[in-house]
């Protein structure tokens, strides 16, 4: 496994980003901008699931509107995230927060695009308020794990 991470970091793309004085900073800034947007899109739906925020709209309406914003910001997040990872893959390999983040990210994406999607797009009649709250809390916890793990990669280096 370590050798895979080493060859990623020693690849030409990895070295290009690593050796540039500003590439990492610029890519990370874009990563951070996408964090704000993805957070907004996730929060909007999770707050609505808890009966907060845009209360007069149905859960489905809010979820439908938030979906493209979520997908776009997630795309930017993943692309810039991969670029950051490639430039310091070996550090990531030894970083506990990195692995916490990756596990949370995998679960968050799976949860968001399967269970949460199904619940938010279901009819109002079949929806159960207690279940919606649980879904919101699980979603917030998973995405919080992604964000907090991400910030902590920088502190543990």
């Amino acid at each position: 496994m370590l050798s895979v991470f080493q060859s990623i970091e020693w690849s030409s793309v990895g070295q290009l980003i690593k050796n540039s004085p500003w590439a990492f900073a610029v890519i990370e800034s874009i990563h951070l901008l996408a964090l704000a947007v993805i957070g907004g899109a996730v929060l909007l739906v999770d707050l609505r699931l808890m009966g907060l925020g845009l209360k007069r709209q149905t859960v489905t309406e809010v979820a439908r509107d938030a979906q493209p914003v979520l997908v776009w910001s997630l795309g930017v997040m993943l692309l810039t995230g991969i670029a950051l990872f490639v430039s310091e893959a070996i550090k990531c390999y030894y970083s506990t927060p990195f692995w916490v983040k990756m596990a949370s990210l995998l679960l968050a994406i799976l949860f968001t695009f399967t269970i949460k999607r199904k619940i938010t797009l279901a009819d109002n009649a079949t929806r159960n308020p207690a279940l919606m709250r649980v879904v919101a809390v699980v979603s917030l916890a998973l995405w919080f794990g992604v964000g907090a793990g991400g910030r902590w990669i920088g502190f543990s280096g």
């Binding site: 004085p21 845009l54 007069r56």
Partner: protein
């Protein structure tokens, strides 16, 4: 008038030193500052995108502002408190950092823009509440807000880099001037 003596005094206070040297407190405050971006900037972006007719198209603008504003105010309060604490921990270097200065100026611009929007076109929101294509002044407010917050987030991140710090001499005279570096010699 320079605020440098004040920053130097602040840096010598016990609380500032304790926060600066703390093992967990400083990273925790910084994490709270960064993650609250999701709440405050995330919600602002959604409002701006509504003004631009990109998302929440069928939700009246007044509904978006009134429902999201409490969350934005809460988020902004956390960002402000944690931001002040981060400055308190590292006052002199922050004060003499061009990205920090850029961030503060852009924050003021974002504030002016929000004030102008609320006191201006938003006062007559009843006339265009359900429009997907909002009045040009509302769209302009959305674009200016998005641009300001992008600059604020990026410059905030860049404060961490010491490229233009006063102790990284020689710097071009313009950098020393903008950062307020006290350089002996001819630069100043």
């Amino acid at each position: 008038m320079s605020l440098l003596p004040f920053c130097q005094w602040l840096a010598e206070t016990r609380g500032s030193i304790a926060l600066h040297e703390s093992l967990y407190m400083y990273p925790l405050v910084e994490s709270a500052h960064v993650l609250t971006l999701c709440l405050f900037v995330g919600m602002s972006v959604l409002l701006d995108l509504r003004l631009l007719g990109v998302t929440l198209k069928r939700v009246p603008v007044s509904e978006v502002t009134s429902r999201l504003l409490p969350w934005m105010i809460g988020g902004f309060t956390i960002m402000l408190v944690t931001g002040l604490l981060l400055f308190y921990a590292i006052p002199v270097r922050s004060y003499q950092n061009i990205f920090f200065r850029l961030k503060l100026i852009t924050l003021a611009l974002a504030g002016l823009n929000a004030w102008y929007f609320h006191e201006g076109i938003h006062k007559r929101v009843g006339e265009w509440d359900r429009d997907v294509r909002t009045p040009s002044r509302a769209r302009l407010a959305g674009i200016v807000s998005l641009a300001c917050w992008a600059v604020i987030v990026v410059s905030g991140r860049m404060i961490a880099y010491n490229w233009f710090d006063c102790d990284m001499q020689p710097q071009p005279p313009i950098v020393n001037r903008l950062a307020g570096c006290q350089v002996s010699g001819l630069e100043r």
